[in-house]
Every structure is written in C-alpha cells, then in structure tokens.
C-alpha cells in the first residue's frame, strides 16, 4: 500500500559465490533465531524460572550463615548443589548465560529497529492510498469543510500530527512516541545492566560491628571488616581513609517490645583530617563523600573483668550477637588467653587459659530458667555464663570465630567446663581456683555496612527513562489519516464553481479501540475549522 522511503543503495553485489558458506549461513540463521521474539520470550521465561532457586535456597550474597546452616542440615546434597552454583544463583554461569543471551537478543532486536525508527522519523508520512473508503475509517466531510489542503494541514498540525501535503492530498501520521518509547525502554534496560556491572566492578562494601567508645573506633581498611568484598577493579589501597567511632546509640521500644526507633551518633574523621559528628538511622544512612554507612543492627557488649589466680585482672568488652530474638537475647564468648601467666616466670601455661561463653539477657526474668530476655532494653541485665579452663586452641593457626568457643578443644578434653552461673549487674563470681569474674556493665554496639556503589546514579537515571519509555510504548498509538480533496466540476453550473468533495480515511497501525472516536473528532475539527475560518474571514472583510 505504501512505499517505505528508499533504503540506502546496497553496496555493489560481489561476484556470486559458487557455494554458499555454510558457516556464515549457520551464524546468520542462529543470529536470526536468537533475535526472534519467540526466543526472547523463551529466554524471559527461563530467566524467571532460573530465579526461583535463588529464593528457595539460601544465598551466600544474602545470608551466608543460612548457607552454612544448610550445609550442616544436608551434608550430602549441599556440596552437589554448590557445584552447580545453587547458593550463588544470581552470579552463576547459567543465570548469567540466560540474561546475557537475553540482552544480546534484545540488542540484536532493537538496533535494526532503531535504524528503522530513525528513518521513519526523518521520512514524510506516506502518500494516500488510492481508495480511502477501503481503510478502517472513512468518511466524506460535510460541504462546509475547507477545501484547501493547506487549511486541513494546519488543523492537523495544531493537533500535533506530522503532516505532508502532496497536491490535493494531505497525509498525516501520529504516535511515533510508541516506538520511541519502546526503544527507550529497551535501551534503558541495557543501561541498568551496565549500571549493575559498574557497581560490581568498581564498587566495594564491608560489614562490621562497632562497639561504642572512642577506643573502639575503626578506620576504613579492608582488615577492619569482618566481611568485605571489593570489586575486581578495586584495590585495598583505593579505599577512602575515613575513621568512625560510635558515640552513642539510642534505641526505643514500645511496651510490647516492638522497636520504635534507632539512632546512632558517630564521630567521623574524614581523610582530609576534618572531624565532625553525625547521626544516622535505619532509613537515613550516613552519606560520606566516598561511601555510605548503613545501620543494619544493634546489640549489647557486656564488659567483663576477669581476675586470675595471680590477682591480675583484665577487662574485656565483648559484643554478644543477637540471634533474631526480638528481646535481644544474645550469645557470645569472652576469652582470656593471656590469663594465669605466672608473674614470676612470665611463662604462659597453655592449659590455664580461660574463657566464658553464654548468653546475655538485657532483661532477665525474675525466676529461672534464665534462657531468654523478656524485654529488649536493659531493665534487669544479666549474663548466664559457663566457665572453661584449658587450651583455647588459638595457637593452632586455624581461623575460628570470635563469637564461639572452639568446640574441638572441648570435645578432645583440652578445654574443660569448670562452672556455670548467672551474674547480675555488678555481681562477682569466684571460680574454684580463686580467680573471679565480674560483670561490670554493657556497651551498645551497632552492626553497619559501609558501601560504595558507583553504578547507582546511572541505574536511577535509566529507571526514569525506562518508566517514561514504558508508558510511551504502552499507551501511545501509531495511526495515520489522509484527506483528499477532489475538486468539483467547474462546468457543473454552480455559481461557486462546483463544490469540491473532501474525503478522509484513517488507519490505526496498532490496536487502538478508540481510534474511531478520535477519527470522528478529527474530521469534525477539520469541518468546523472550515466553518469558523469562513466566519473569521467574513469578519475581517
């Protein structure tokens, strides 16, 4: 029906090959197959299916402890699953393969469409078909309608149609926004992916626990984090050198124990030497120039003073970790590996090390069992501890958790339990060898995440474009209308020289149920314009 604007001349054909290159043909066919909508749909579906195990199985990136737990619970199955990347689904080869193929398919699809659309944007609306009455919409305008194609074109232009006048025909097209939006949407998806890639290449993050007090301050180096991950393009030396110390932490709770608000106050030493204080909370992170600091959690670190059998005392502030209990029952261990060093000889007896493990209850119940706290703030703080003496196994060189005792040492009898006791605030517990432990109080701690994610601005911008493009592609509609003026027969005998016939046709190029209404309105507007134009002209004259 219409001819598309001429394509650029194809390069002069080369001499025909005798045999078509099979490899090329295969590649070309695979490419066509990959960029077809059917393949894209299948890949989309696969992507959705592949994401499911990421929610069913624990993921290392989300919750590494849960993964360890899973390994313990399913010692046979877990390694098998691990081998296929089931605990790192979103970084696994197969998940990456799916989305990379999908994005390749997407790019392969939108590039030619972009070229076509640019061409369409530059080209003029096509000439009218011969028989307008065959179009989905067709009408003959009333007699008072303007017969000047330029006047019709003016009405259409005012309604923001792209108009082309060819002799006594007016062609108009509208709704290029649909394809523009479509292309923007898909392009911004690619931009989001690039943002993700930038973030993982150049970003870094570290998590750690920070106990209140200036003596517990930390500076931003990799070693200071209990868990850190640097992108492949980031070196440890690249980390900006700021320091943080926790001045105070304010947690408020409702009488029911539900948390109401958290607020951490910190002192920041910027790399340039300036010092300032800042507050941050759960929904308002501390935004430093070079990284953001997020408050993830909080808890209590009991301060325990151990006086060994030689009368030398050491004080340890050990954060006890909460295990998901809303009333902040927390577990931890206080180890004193340098206890009981004979002051005369300076010798450390390897089997005289001391450690205490147990729970901390911010609000201990009045009566036993003292197993869980009854309220998250410190109304009746108490520690329930087991004392161990022996070899802590710290010299074995095997990395262990600082939050639990080395169970192997207990199992092989090198570390023996020598008592168990509940200690209220300020209470002192004298052990069988005359040494003693005193519960002095607690300090609050927070867990925080320090992050730098460079791709985020790009992602945010891409998301805005994505939404705009999506709206355009879903709600804009491409459609064409044509007006044709057939001059009246000048010999018809009419004094005005015979009335001209104006007819109009409309073609929605995409599904557009409201097109009939729009067409009718448009035709009416053109007709009315003739009338009002006439009146205006009369008025002027």
């Amino acid at each position: 029906m219409t001819t598309v604007a001429d394509r650029p001349a194809t390069p002069p054909a080369q001499a025909p090959r005798r045999r078509p290159n099979r490899l090329l043909a295969l590649l070309r066919n695979s490419w066509r197959q990959l960029t077809s909508m059917r393949t894209a749909l299948v890949l989309l579906f696969l992507l959705a299916v592949a994401a499911i195990p990421g929610s069913v199985l624990p993921q290392r990136g989300v919750n590494p402890e849960k993964v360890d737990e899973y390994f313990r619970a399913h010692p046979e199955l877990a390694p098998q699953l691990d081998r296929i990347g089931a605990f790192e689904v979103f970084g696994s080869v197969w998940f990456s393969a799916i989305y990379l193929l999908l994005f390749t398919s997407l790019v392969g699809c939108i590039l030619p469409r972009m070229r076509d659309h640019l061409r369409a944007l530059r080209s003029r609306p096509p000439a009218a078909p011969k028989r307008l009455e065959r179009l989905p919409q067709h009408t003959v305008l009333p007699a008072h309608a303007p017969t000047d194609p330029a006047a019709i074109a003016a009405v259409l232009r005012r309604r923001r149609w792209r108009v082309e006048v060819r002799g006594n025909e007016v062609s108009a097209e509208k709704g290029y926004l649909k394809e523009t939006g479509n292309l923007l949407f898909h392009t911004s998806l690619v931009a989001v992916l690039i943002g993700v890639a930038l973030g993982s290449w150049y970003g870094w993050h570290g998590n750690r626990l920070l106990v209140a007090g200036e003596e517990n301050a930390f500076c931003n180096t990799r070693q200071q984090y209990s868990e850190a991950s640097l992108g492949p393009q980031v070196d440890s030396a690249d980390l900006p050198g700021f320091c943080l110390s926790l001045d105070g932490f304010d947690a408020r709770f409702l009488p029911s124990g539900q948390p109401e608000s958290y607020r951490a106050s910190v002192t920041v030493d910027e790399p340039d030497g300036s010092r300032r204080t800042a507050d941050f909370s759960v929904n308002s992170p501390l935004r430093l120039g070079s990284a953001n600091v997020y408050l993830l959690g909080h808890g209590y670190a009991p301060v325990l003073k151990y006086t060994d059998r030689y009368g030398r005392s050491q004080t340890s502030t050990v954060p006890f970790l909460t295990s998901g209990d809303a009333n902040l029952t927390s577990e931890g261990v206080a180890a004193f590996p340098d206890a009981n060093v004979d002051p005369k000889t300076g010798q450390r007896a390897a089997d005289q090390q001391v450690a205490f493990d147990g729970i901390y209850l911010p609000t201990a119940p009045e009566n036993p069992p003292f197993t869980s706290s009854t309220y998250p703030t410190e109304r009746n703080p108490a520690v329930v501890l087991r004392a161990f003496r022996g070899n802590l196994g710290l010299d074995a060189g095997i990395p262990g958790s600082v939050y639990e005792l080395d169970q192997r040492q207990v199992d092989n009898g090198k570390l023996k339990q020598v008592g168990e006791k509940k200690l209220g605030l300020g209470e002192k517990w004298t052990l069988d060898d005359g040494s003693s432990l005193e519960f002095l109080g607690t300090k609050p701690y927070i867990t925080l995440s320090v992050r730098y994610a460079p791709g985020q601005t790009l992602m945010l911008g891409a998301c805005v474009v994505l939404l705009a493009g999506l709206m355009g592609s879903l709600f804009a509609r491409r459609r064409r209308v044509w007006f044709r003026v057939t001059p009246g027969d000048p010999d018809g005998g009419s004094p005005t020289g015979g009335s001209s016939l104006v007819e109009a046709g409309g073609l929605p190029r995409t599904e557009h149920p409201g097109f009939a209404d729009e067409f009718a309105q448009l035709v009416a507007a053109v007709g009315d314009d003739g009338r009002s134009d006439g009146r205006a002209r009369e008025g002027v004259e």
Binding site: M37, R38, A40, L41, L44, F45, L47, A48, A51, I52, G54, S55, V56, Q59, G61, V62, V89, F90, V196, H205, L254, S256, Q258, P259, E260, S261, Y262, S281, V282, N283, S284, P285, N292, Y294, L296, S449, R451, A453, Q456, M459, L460, C463, L466, L467, L470, M471, L474, F475, P513, G514, D517
Partner: protein
C-alpha cells in the same frame, strides 16, 4: 477504632458473600439473551476498549421458551443488579474498615500482611466497580470477583489478623507510602486482571467448541475478544505502576539496607513477576503467539504475585519480614 475496623471487615465479608450469591443466582437463571438485554446502551457508545462493541454472539432463542426465559432473565438481571449494588456496599464497608484501621494505628494501614491484603482486595474491588461502571455488560464476572474477595478476606481475617501496632523503624520512611501504595495498587489491578483473564480462557475454550467442565461456564460469559482486551488493558495499566513500585522499592532499599537490589526473596519474586508480566505484554504484542497462550502467561504472572504475597511471607525469611505472621 480498631474494634470498629474489625467489625467492618466482618460485615464487608458478609456483604461480598451476599453479592456473590446474587451473582450466582444471576448466573444460574440468566441466559445468553439476558446478557445482551441487560447491557444498557451505554457501553455500545463505549469509549476505551469497547467490549460490547461487537455483537454478543447470541444463538437464536427458540420461540417456544421465549416467555419463560425472559421472565427468568428478568429475575437474573434483578439479582445481578442487586449483587452489583451490594458489592458497592461491601466496598464502602471495606473502605471504612481500612480508614478506621488507619486511624487506630495513626498511619497508613499497610504495616503488616493483614493490612496489606485488606488494601489489595479493596483496590481490586474499587477497580472492578470502575470497570463495571464503564462496561455494565461485564457484570457476570462479579461472581468470580466476589468469590476471590470472600476467600482472600476470610483468609486474612482467620490467618493473618494482628493487633494494631505502630510501624517498625525500618518502615518509618516516606518511601513506605510511595512503595507500598503503588505495590498495593498494582497488585490490586493484577488481582482484578486475572478475573477477565480466567473468564477469557473459559469463554475462548467454549467458543472453540469445548464442552467439558470449566468451559461449560463460558456459555454465559461475555464474548472472548472483549474479555481479552479488558485483560490486556488492566495489565497494561498496572504494569508501569508495578515497575514504578519496584524501582521505588529499590531506591528505598538503598537507603534502608545499603543496596538497591540484593535478591531478598521478596525482591526475587518481584523480579520473577516483572519478567513474567513483561513476557505477557511481549507475547500479546507478537502476532504469532496465540491470545490464549499470552493470557495463560498473565495468569501465571498472577500466581507469582500470590506466591510473593503468601509463599514468601510464610515460607521464606528475608528482609521484608513485616507480615506479622509466624
């Protein structure tokens, strides 16, 4: 106020139940002629996606049963109309329950799963009433809708109910209103969208000559093409809102948890829903994909939304653990 809210929910469930019975009566009594007769002229003018724009394919009624049928048709129409008005009443009670709950809590009533389901269902009903206002010919779909409402609300009341409490610190942000309201709104529209989708699949099978059980229900449903267009219109409207909601969630997650996207179970399932619905929109735009295949994808999309709402809250623990269910 909280007690008032609880009572209003109960009354709303009862009203939905009455409306459901009304629709069922209409369904049982009505014949195909009644559908076309019950459709006032309004939707024939039909702006937007005119469903009854095409003629309802009414098989010629044999002249013999004319009077009997028309009488039962009248009764069916009456039942249907009553059902529609009772749905309006139910929606009003439902809204009252939401408002009083919000007043009792002194915040938007979206703090836990109970309140969330309460709001999503209300959005579904409100959007349904809007559709019904524009296109009364679709009234028979009310049976499916009220059934869904009764089931979801009863489930919320029995299994999800929690006392009114203030928001936890993680939810105290203006993003709460932006993210949750749009999620609720789009979920409500997806919930409503599955009604014409399922009706289309039934009706389409019926029109293709299938006469086994679920397809026999299709005899009294509006024409398949119109149902399909409505399905698409609802999803096309909802999808950008859902997209916005997910983006808003990512922005909020960046402030609250330090990362925009971290594959928390809720996020993973939102991603799955988004991909499936995107698949639906693409499938529908592709001429070589049959419309019933595309519609099945939309139904699948809704299943992923349900999975996100119920499955994730009950089976997985993640950062979005605000449901108040154990």
């Amino acid at each position: 106020m909280s007690a008032v809210s609880d009572q209003l929910v109960t009354f709303a469930i009862l009203a939905y139940l009455v409306a459901m019975i009304g629709h069922a009566v209409e369904y049982a009594l009505g014949n195909v002629r009644a559908v076309s007769a019950a459709a006032p002229a309004r939707e024939l003018v039909g702006a937007g996606v005119g469903v009854a724009g095409g003629p309802v394919d009414a098989p010629a009624t044999p002249a013999g049963g004319e009077t009997r049928r028309s009488r039962s048709g009248q009764r069916a129409r009456l039942a249907g109309r009553i059902a529609a008005w009772v749905t309006v009443l139910a929606a009003a009670l439902h809204l009252g329950a939401l408002v009083t709950r919000g007043i009792a809590a002194d915040r938007m009533p979206w703090g836990n799963m109970y309140e969330f389901v309460l709001t999503v269902t209300w959005i579904g009903t409100a959007a349904w009433l809007a559709v019904l206002w524009k296109r009364p010919a679709l009234r028979r779909l009310g049976l499916f809708l009220t059934l869904v409402m009764v089931l979801l609300l009863a489930f919320a009341e029995l299994k999800l109910y929690v006392q009114v409490v203030p928001l936890m610190p993680a939810l105290q942000s203006y993003w709460f209103i932006i993210h949750v309201s749009t999620i609720v709104f789009s979920s409500g529209l997806f919930l409503l969208g599955v009604v014409p989708a399922a009706a289309f699949l039934i009706r389409n099978g019926y029109e293709q000559g299938r006469r086994s059980f679920p397809y026999t229900l299709g005899r009294r449903l509006p024409a398949a093409a119109g149902l399909e267009r409505l399905t698409f219109a609802l999803h096309a409207f909802s999808f950008p809102i859902f997209t916005f909601a997910v983006i808003a969630g990512a922005i909020w997650a960046e402030a609250a948890w330090g990362r925009a996207w971290g594959w928390d179970p809720k996020e993973t399932w939102a991603f799955i829903s988004w991909v499936v619905y995107a698949g639906y929109l693409h499938a529908r735009a592709t001429p070589s994909v049959k419309r019933n295949v595309a519609t099945w994808i939309a139904v699948l999309g809704f299943l992923t939304v349900l999975m996100n709402l119920f499955g994730v809250n009950f089976f997985f623990t993640g950062l979005h653990s605000y449901a108040g269910v154990e």
